[in-house]
């Protein structure tokens, strides 16, 4: 239960922290840390407008997207705290719940009948297809490395002499890039842009409004917290004291959010045709990590 509370709390502050860092980096006063959550609160009170062309899929897709991501978040161990759901092979369910959320977003955007949204959906499908192997290969490598088959076991990092910061840092690098791709952030996509031709995620929700938009935006916040928690779990050893684990968790999340904020401030967005190369490079690094693990475990 503590794990879930920590993830939900993180999801409330994470996007605000990114926005805050971006505004500080660009010399603006900018909105407060809680502004994204306030926006969601406003959206929750607004009514929903459906396009006359849209069918039933658009009506239930946002709920399934939110539900999938919320259930996926129940499987995440946080800094030594057990998740609510944990069983052997749960990482496969975790990956497919995220894939289900993406699938629902894609068919919902097709359902609106908008050519722009269809274009965004096709890009989202391609990038999703390219990044999924990276996540699976990373998790497979960790299964080999730890000999465990659940997310709790995989991310249960030993402390003391067995602590391995190097693996933690490389896992964090790969997971950080997967987060950027999953959430369509810079350099892949820019959530601030409003030119439909270059948009990915944002163009898919052009016809979504009110309560439904709030659900989709909050799902994205939870995804940040979920991947941030996995990164924290890959870096924080389980045998630290409770206070130190909590302090380390908050620090890792803040550093992760600040890093994304700084990257978005100083990095330009890639051209569309460079995105595939970026995603494939992340997958390749994941493969390299897998190969090195095979060697260190004397399997190869």
């Amino acid at each position: 239960m503590v794990a879930l509370i920590l993830i939900l709390t993180t999801s409330l502050f994470f996007p605000g922290l990114i926005v805050r860092v971006k505004s500080i980096a660009s010399g603006r006063k900018g909105p407060g840390i809680l502004q994204p959550i306030k926006n969601i609160y406003v959206l929750l009170r607004k009514g929903i407008v459906y396009s006359t062309l849209s069918g039933t899929v658009s009506r239930f897709a946002p709920v399934i997207v939110f539900g999938s991501v919320a259930v996926a978040s129940l499987m995440i161990p946080v800094a030594g705290f057990e998740p609510l759901i944990s069983f052997n092979g749960d990482f496969i369910l975790f990956a497919y719940l995220l894939a289900l959320a993406r699938f629902m977003m894609i068919i919902a955007s097709f359902d609106t009948g908008s050519s722009f949204e269809g274009m965004g959906a096709s890009r989202e499908a391609l990038y999703g297809m390219l990044i999924e192997p990276a996540l699976f290969i990373l998790l497979a490598g960790l299964v080999v490395f730890t000999g465990e088959y659940s997310l709790t076991g995989i991310f249960n990092l030993p402390g003391g002499e067995n602590y391995n910061l190097i693996y933690g840092l490389i896992i964090s690098y790969i997971l950080g890039n997967i987060t950027i791709i999953e959430n369509s952030r810079v350099p892949l996509d820019d959530p601030k842009t409003h030119l439909e031709l270059t948009m990915i995620h944002e163009v898919m929700v052009l016809d979504t409004s009110g309560f439904n938009l709030a659900l989709i935006q909050f799902s994205s916040f939870i995804k940040f917290a979920v991947f941030g928690s996995l990164i924290a779990s890959a870096l924080i050893p389980r045998d630290l004291s409770l206070a130190w684990r909590l302090i380390s968790f908050v620090t890792v999340q803040m550093v992760f959010a600040a890093t994304i904020g700084f990257l978005e401030s100083f990095r330009t967005r890639f051209k569309m045709n460079r995105n595939q190369q970026f995603i494939l490079t992340v997958t390749m690094i994941s493969v390299l990590m897998f190969v090195i693990i095979l060697f260190t475990k004397n399997i190869f």
């Binding site: 490389i170 190369q277 490079t281 997958t283 690094i285 493969v287 090195i292």
Partner: protein
């Protein structure tokens, strides 16, 4: 620590194969020199002055300082800063790198010798094929230059894999070969390339006695 160096070296190969900017080539090549120095230092068993000096000269001074400086000069003189438009696209190159990694694993398995450190062999094969890939998919000579230098890095890694059975003198000889190849191509790029009407590898075939 050695694991981190292996992984960083592997990542640097992936980036050098996929990047399209020549200044990135230079930066990554300079970084590889430092990584190789770190690997050699950790693996060094006969810790005597001359051996250390040779490794320092080959990795840090040659690979990280002199060659990057020369490459930067060549880049500035030719005024070409990115790969040719007709070169293989970066995403296909990354896909080819995955195939190359698979082949490297296979070769290391098939040609394994008990006394040889297998992980070095894999990285060395991977580096060698990355160099060959750069030579074969890049149109401009600058890419070929970097490709040859990467192949030399592979030779260095092979020498580390077999340790004492591969004398430093042989390694230095190969380094000299590569250096001459790079020198010839540099001369072509900086001295006669303009007259020949381009810096593409194909124009080399027009050279006559």
């Amino acid at each position: 620590m050695l694991i981190l160096l292996y992984i960083l070296f592997g990542i640097s190969l992936v980036y050098i194969a996929s990047t399209e900017k020549f200044r990135h080539y230079i930066q990554i090549y300079a970084m590889q020199g430092i990584l190789l120095f770190g690997m050699a230092l950790i693996e060094l068993k006969d810790f005597y002055f001359l051996n250390l000096l040779l490794i320092l000269a080959e990795t840090i001074i040659f690979k990280s300082v002199i060659v990057p400086y020369l490459l930067r000069k060549i880049m500035q003189r030719t005024g070409i800063y990115s790969v040719h438009k007709r070169s293989l696209k970066g995403n296909y190159t990354v896909l080819l790198m995955m195939v190359i990694l698979g082949i490297s694993l296979l070769l290391a398995k098939v040609l394994s010798i008990p006394s040889v450190n297998k992980i070095y062999t894999v990285i060395a094969w991977f580096t060698l094929f990355t160099g060959l890939l750069l030579v074969s998919v890049r149109k401009y000579l600058f890419g070929h230059l970097v490709g040859f230098l990467i192949i030399e890095n592979a030779v260095f890694l092979f020498s580390m894999a077999i340790g004492s059975r591969f004398p430093m003198l042989v390694n230095t000889g190969i380094l000299l070969d590569i250096f001459i190849a790079v020198l010839v191509m540099s001369m072509f790029l900086t001295k006669i390339g303009h007259k020949m009407g381009g810096f593409e590898a194909d124009t080399l075939s027009q050279l006559k006695d």
